[in-house]
Symmetry: C2
Subunit: 428 residues, 2 copies
């Protein structure tokens, strides 16, 4: 993509209304704009990463055998009355009346609707287990939206729901999703920690949250230091993740903690995913059953599983930035390379940039080519701000020798290299 054809409204100054780094940087890097409290429009670079993350999550779920559906944003209230949550959910539920005076609500979560799909379309134990998921915009009317997309009102969420014939099988589905989440977050370039959590309003008696560690995290989590060691040695695996002591604040009892104090770590975390074993809470309330081998009615045993796609972007930035801007993990970067032409109009600079741009496009490496006539300082600041893992900087001095500057955004390391060498590094 050529920057001159792109829509990337960079803000040079820090916006006043953004109190956390991710919010500030998403505004400054032209990824989002607030429309009204807790509701955002996504600009091209924001849409790009929403799609990248969605595709990685989708791939992971498809590989795990889940099937993708898409439930509507608006729902009639009757299913919520049937489940008992219409009144219980409280003021975060946004309700409205249509022109015929019928009650609708904007879906904040979909246990009721997916259970309705299940009861109307699946009849036999032979059709189980099944896990359905969707990626859809949801709405929760937070009393005080804040932190940009991290605690917005309208947000993109991947929600999945498993249906099984008995508890044993349901726990297997839960464990499989736990493993799938572990793999998905790894594919996203994220170290997460799974903590035992309270299942809150959703219900059920087993739940874990996946957290990204960040100083700005809104909750405290407690865990065994072995976890940090595994990350440091790059040996974090599923077994470590499963067996380690880790608990959300509300589940951690200092007087009954199996981990000795000197091995216990307390850190701030940002929740990016949660898994729940629900049992038959919703299937019973909505009379959703299958018949077993003996023709008996069996309520489905359910699990539900969420990943906050839009919030994840905020969390990734909280964990990956410096004072100059975002530092995208290569796995999710909207652009892998920022190609910066320091002197548009200079023959050598233009030629080299066009050549590199063409080759990166051919190699299907996402590149943002700054072909604008902005000042050198502004171009370099923009490249740092938007955080592509690599920068290829083409200035007249090195260009005359057919060389370019290659900068690795995370460490700031720079070297003067040949065009071929730069290309082979960023394509690796």
């Amino acid at each position: 993509m050529r920057l001159s054809n792109y829509f990337l409204p960079i803000l040079k100054e820090n916006p006043n209304d953004a109190s956390v780094a991710s919010h500030r940087l998403m505004l400054r890097a032209g990824m989002i704009r607030q429309l009204t409290s807790g509701i955002y429009n996504w600009l091209p670079m924001g849409v790009n990463i929403l799609q990248k993350i969605s595709n990685i999550v989708r791939d992971g779920l498809n590989k795990a055998g889940c099937v993708e559906i898409l439930m509507s944003c608006l729902q009639p209230d009757d299913l919520w009355v049937e489940s008992g949550r219409f009144d219980a959910y409280g003021k975060e539920l946004l309700t409205m009346k249509d022109r015929h005076d019928r009650n609708l609500l904007f879906s904040p979560t979909n246990e009721e609707v997916v259970t309705d799909i299940f009861r109307k379309n699946i009849n036999s134990y032979k059709e189980l287990p099944v896990t359905m998921y969707q990626m859809q915009w949801k709405f929760r009317d937070e009393i005080r939206p804040r932190f940009g997309v991290m605690r917005g009102r309208e947000f993109l969420m991947k929600d999945a729901y498993s249906f099984d014939i008995d508890k044993e099988s349901a726990i297997k589905s839960y464990d499989k999703m736990f493993e799938t989440y572990f793999n998905i977050f790894k594919s996203l370039g994220l170290n997460t920690i799974a903590v035992r959590a309270d299942s809150g309003q959703i219900g059920g008696d087993l739940s874990q949250e996946f957290h990204v560690i960040a100083d700005t995290g809104e909750s405290t989590i407690y865990y065994d230091i072995a976890y940090d060691e595994a990350i440091k040695n790059s040996s974090l695996d599923l077994a470590t993740m499963r067996n380690i002591y880790a608990a959300a604040d509300e589940m951690h009892d200092p007087d009954n903690c199996p981990v000795p104090a000197e091995r216990l770590v307390a850190k701030r975390g940002i929740e990016v995913g949660q898994v729940f074993y629900l049992g038959d809470k919703y299937s019973k309330a909505l009379n959703a059953y299958v018949t077993n081998q003996n023709g008996e009615k069996i309520y489905a045993q359910m699990g539900c599983y969420g990943i906050g796609i839009s919030r994840l972007i905020g969390a990734i930035i909280e964990a990956n930035h410096d004072e100059k801007g975002i530092i995208w993990p290569v796995e999710v970067a909207p652009f892998i390379v920022s190609l910066v032409n320091l002197k548009v109009g200079d023959g050598s600079c233009d030629d080299i940039c066009e050549k590199i741009y063409l080759q990166l496009n051919n190699a299907k490496v996402d590149v943002l080519y700054d072909d604008t006539t902005n000042s050198v300082g502004s171009k370099l600041a923009t490249a740092d701000l938007i955080g592509s893992p690599w920068q290829i900087i083409v200035g007249p001095k090195s260009a005359a020798n057919n060389m370019v500057e290659l900068k690795f955004r995370r460490t700031g390391e720079k070297e003067i290299v040949s065009i071929e060498s730069a290309l082979s590094k960023v394509c690796a």
Copy 2:
């Protein structure tokens, strides 16, 4: 995809509440389920085609240099008050109040919001022209939703908006989008006809609608028979499309028609896209301007362009089905091949099917493998119903000779061929 792992709730009987073929077939083929009047949930095969169509449309727009954004579903009412449409839009506008008693509405279209994005982020004539688009769920509170997804209330729409410095340039953007639409509909395997149309509630003084011809179309369109001839000769090109006389019902005046009666055709059409030149209707109302070379304020000249993604699926089916089911154009088919194992458990049948399934997956040809133990009749009926362009039918008799039956869904032609021959045909 193995059917045993898929979620494809086929209905054997025609549903009572579906009066048109596409609605009936989308229900029967397990693509959608109604949640409440005019609101649908999409099941896996429905999601599959929504994504296929969205990606083709996205590719076409990106190639034309448009940039993708994503506007929220919910919007505050203030921009609509500012444009004067809050009252003018009428009862199709779904409004609500949030917990702080502020007015919100579910977006039925986005002229106001995109103009707001423009005025807040684009300041100079140097940044023009720009065309922004999104694919997002919208809501129009139709008084009588009908025909399934063809006239639903919640629907997926691609809407695009162009901004130019003057009328001449704006008409160029309009023409470019017209050409892009022509190419996109071709990529979707659709013959469409563009008719002069009334610009209605959206405003502006130039508008064209793209229609798919289908007997069940809701509107009458009038056009020169040359158009049909071009389709018959497969010589339909942009020039024909641009220059031909073609008008929507409300724009056709029989007394002042340039086409002689014997060359004039009247047919039923389903509108799948519309393009509008808006002028400065919204930019003026919302004070959206750039400065020109002389530092003067110039209101942006706008165009807007829609494609109904979910409605398109209905239109494609209306134009491509028979009494047995859907006949997908190969360009958009959820699955290119239905692989039908007539005798699961038979060694030869299973071996051949597994081999074909593996090879199609390796070749990245989308295949739905019916590996269920349903009856032969039910399997064949399902394959016809879901409408993959090709069926590879593997029964014990031909399998014993290492042969399979290859059926072309559109014509019903069948032949007994070798596995290699079947694979080479469906991969072509």
